[in-house]
């Protein structure tokens, strides 16, 4: 089935919507009724048919609109995409990985024709048909990382691996949960995670780093992360925080169902072949509370998770002030019934809301 791409915005009038298909396949991040940090890694080798886990780089109904939003962010602030000089090779690795994956996984949307280093890339949804020479930067309109990530949903951090450490040395970051590539570029793994509370003390980052250093070619991994965003705003950047921060104060009991969004990152990790760098795609999915609670299991569970979340985490994730209002809303969708384990909505087996 060919995807119907939405005509929608992630700013101003916020016309972003999830179809029923997108709601059902939303990557709900809580596998149980509570949440704490963990190194929740698993292999990234497919998943249930139609789920966001199935393909290497998920393409959904928001693709074209998200790419348009990215182009607008970059026009306003070109520093959102940067590569330190030694990362060009990793940029080519990234370009190859995404082009090969997309053309194999979505042959109706993307085509890649290779004749030695002469490559022809066809991106039908975006109307691109471009022939270039692989590993020759002069044949692309911009550097390879920027070229391909202007055509791929989600943010992309490219991590150089040296001396048992990962360094954030390149990236395309326009749909981030409040961190700045321009500020963080060049930092090591512990440094760019420095502002995260509790997890350092818990040894989470040490364990995560060990795991990531050992990710090998042919064996990608994935995990989920989450936060909260008022309005379906992709670009929640520190750069623009002075503009969007105030939107958090516009929540009311009447509009919270449509305005408050759960923001989930599907993070994947790929060892890149030529550069030995680690590609870290961070794909952002947004869902309005009112859509999320249409899945009874998710409504019950989200209420319990938000209610019991430690204060430091609610503060770090930026919703401590709005938590009481969120709980008022979510409690209406929690009837106290038990929930089934796992992240999927289990619509057939979970009972409808009993209140």
């Amino acid at each position: 089935m060919t995807i119907q791409f939405n005509e929608e915005t992630f700013r101003d009038d916020y016309s972003f919507r999830n179809s029923e298909w997108a709601i059902k396949r939303f990557p709900f991040p809580f596998h149980e009724d509570s949440y704490m940090y963990s190194v929740n890694m698993e292999q990234h080798r497919g998943g249930p048919e139609g789920s966001v886990y199935e393909k290497r780089f998920d393409v959904d109904e928001h693709y074209v609109s998200e790419m348009r939003d990215r182009a607008m962010v970059l026009a306003d602030d070109p520093l959102r995409c940067q590569s330190l000089p030694h990362m060009t090779l990793a940029g080519w690795d990234t370009l190859e990985l995404i082009m090969v994956s997309k053309s194999e996984d979505y042959p109706d949307l993307f085509e890649l024709h290779r004749d030695g280093d002469r490559w022809r890339w066809i991106n039908k949804p975006m109307g691109i048909d471009h022939t270039f020479t692989f590993l020759d930067e002069t044949t692309l309109p911009c550097d390879p990382l920027e070229y391909i990530t202007r055509q791929a949903q989600g943010d992309f951090a490219v991590l150089d691996q040296r001396d048992e450490m990962l360094y954030m040395d390149a990236g395309m970051i326009t749909t981030q949960a409040d961190w700045s590539l321009d500020f963080d570029i060049g930092m090591d793994f512990f440094e760019w995670h420095a502002p995260v509370p509790l997890a350092h003390e818990m040894g989470i980052f040490k364990r995560a780093l060990k795991f990531l250093l050992n990710i090998q070619q042919g064996a990608p991994a994935r995990r989920l992360n989450w936060t909260m965003t008022v309005n379906p705003l992709l670009d929640t950047s520190p750069e623009n925080y002075h503009k969007w921060g105030v939107q958090k104060t516009t929540l009311t009991p009447e509009n919270i169902g449509s305005k408050q969004h759960l923001r989930v990152e599907l993070q994947t990790f790929y060892r890149l072949p030529r550069s030995n760098a680690l590609l870290f795609p961070i794909r952002c999915y947004l869902i309005a509370f009112q859509d999320l609670v249409s899945m009874p299991k998710w409504g019950r569970r989200l209420h319990r998770v938000i209610r019991d979340l430690p204060e430091e985490l609610a503060t770090y994730k930026g919703f401590i002030d709005n938590r009481p209002m969120m709980l008022d809303y979510l409690s209406k969708f929690d009837d106290g019934l038990p929930t089934s384990p796992g992240v999927f909505p289990d619509l057939e087996s979970e009972p409808p809301l009993q209140k």
């Binding site: 990557p27 991040p29 596998h31 929740n40 698993e42 292999q43 080798r45 497919g46 998943g47 249930p48 789920s51 886990y53 330190l84 000089p85 030694h86 990362m87 090779l89 590993l135 150089d160 691996q161 040296r162 001396d163 060990k210 250093l213 050992n214 090998q216 070619q217 042919g218 064996a219 994935r222 995990r223 989920l224 072949p273 030529r274 550069s275 030995n276 796992g342 992240v343 999927f344």
Partner: protein
Amino acid sequence: MSAAPQKAKPGAEQIPVTVSAVVPLNDLVTRFEFKRTDGAPFPTFSGGAHTVVTMQDDGRTRLNPYSLMSDPADTSTYAISVRRDDQGRGGSLFMHTRVKVGDEMTLTYPVNLFSLDLRARKHLFFAGGIGITPFMSMIAQLERMNGHWELHYAVRTEALGTYVDELRYKFPNKVHVYYDDQNDAIPLESLLDGQPLGTNAYVCGPKGMIDWVHATAAASGWPDAQVHSEEFMAPQPGAPFEVRLCKSDKTIKVGENESLLEAMEREGVEAPFLCRGGACGQCETDVVSYDGEFVHRDHWLDDDQHASGQKIMPCVSRFVGKSLELDR
């Protein structure tokens, strides 16, 4: 998150291959070339990467790591060069005496624990003997990127100068060879002096050579982060010992000529691994209890961890004593 739970398999992903060429290079070293059995292209890799070769030796499975020394951009062929070790545990002898063109084997995907620092202004390579192999692929990679490099290569004799002729022919100004039997030593101190800021040094060879390069560079004011080395430790034989594996609920015996990791694999206990040489950290295992002494041989755990008695690297380390219980 359990979107689709899959148990991680030990080791890197496997690639079934067919031996396409066996090329003796001199009395000790033979090159083995492989094609993918399914005819597909190999993954490209980065200079300095290795692969783990699975050998079926009369019912015994041997897993040995070797540097990939073919051109990383050549996706039609992978090649390794194996030095025959008559005193070793038998892997290299198996390769030399049993492996023929047309044999089917498995390799792992490339794993790189000895990669180029792509920020370097210049790459200064020091090879000793069979330690030349990772530099073969690094050189091929740098030649494509127009990188600056220089190789200083110590060999025992002219007859044992693996790839010396090829390297000299291709890169007459960049390759410098030193012969032990002519008392011709690498002039390390003067080579380290006067290199442009941002030069990185790489050494692969015997342990003594690696230590010498690290120490000399440090004394010359080189930052340790700019001196890279790779030393694959082969597991050493040792006295047999018994191990209780708690999770698997098994007690196994580790023989004199096998590693703890190999003994676990023989008993069907899945244990993660990558390098099988004490370097990658993948097989790190928690100790539940012990009464005796560890023989730690890995580069992964630090001295405190070695002293703590809480961790062991089963690929190269052993145990001497009354009892050992592992969380595996």
